[in-house]
Amino acid sequence: MLLIDCPHCGPRAQTEFSYGGAANVARPPAPEETDDAAWIEYLYLRDNAKGQHDELWQHIFGCRRWLQLRRDVISHEIISCSELRRPLAEDGP
């Protein structure tokens, strides 16, 4: 179980949150001109790299806000958690 420090509500159990997938996945700007391979890459294929990972989470049972979170997928340590900003920060939350 992760303890996620919501920037609005404070530290809360993972069960209050909904995982929203990897952050920093760019949607192809012109889907109608994107070939199937590139679209499949965007929709489904992820690097699953060891180490730090930028993720989207929604505090669905709390303030309902979307959050941007950097997490170490080996140790499960949460390095940072902040309100989701658009556009996503290149250097993480």
Partner: protein, 179 residues
């Protein structure tokens, strides 16, 4: 056939009574949305709104519970005409949505409530972390709830969607220690 215009308890079909849990019926409940980052919104509409997360303010019979940045739940036992408030909110660029019939509200004594809720809710309910005058949204037995520790320190109110009312009521009774 029930009269569709008569407001009924969420637990109306349930028989029996108990001393542990009291349903608060007939409440006026509104979700209030302010325009983003407008610090003087409360002054504009004439309400004392808590700016701090998880805090509750009280003005006579009206409670304002923080539920998200720039969002509050307004709750009152008085069903007086509040057209003036609705007009001020609209004029200030905010919005009110009426949840009076959408919520079931249960009141428990804080003392057994803390231990009962701990069986199905991940919140830290120790008085140091959840003192009187605070509220928090969380899950109870996988159902979304809003918990309010009343200013008197002796009671807690549990808000849940009305459709989960009988389930939450039964769950609380089941989790309570034998009388």
């Amino acid at each position: 056939m029930p009269d569709p215009l008569t407001r009924q308890s969420a637990l109306a079909a349930r028989s029996g009574s108990d001393d542990l849990i009291q349903e608060r019926t007939g409440l006026w409940i509104q979700r209030l949305y302010a325009p983003d980052r407008e610090a003087d919104f409360g002054d504009k509409i004439g309400l004392d709104l808590p700016g701090q997360a998880n805090h509750v303010s009280q003005d006579k019979d009206l409670h304002a519970l923080w539920v998200a940045p720039w969002e509050w739940l307004l709750v009152s036992e008085a069903t007086a005409n509040r057209d003036g408030l609705a007009a001020r909110v609209a004029a200030s660029g905010g919005a009110l949505s009426d949840l009076s019939h959408a919520r079931m509200v249960l009141r428990l004594a804080a003392e057994p409530a803390r231990d009962i809720l701990a069986k199905g809710c991940p919140l830290d309910l120790r008085p140091a972390s959840f003192p009187p005058g605070h509220c928090a949204q969380s899950v109870l037995a996988n159902v979304g709830i809003l918990l309010h520790h009343l200013g008197d320190g002796a009671h807690m109110d549990i808000y849940t969607a009305r459709s989960y009312g009988r389930f939450i009521h039964a769950w609380l009774n089941d989790a309570a220690p034998p009388a």
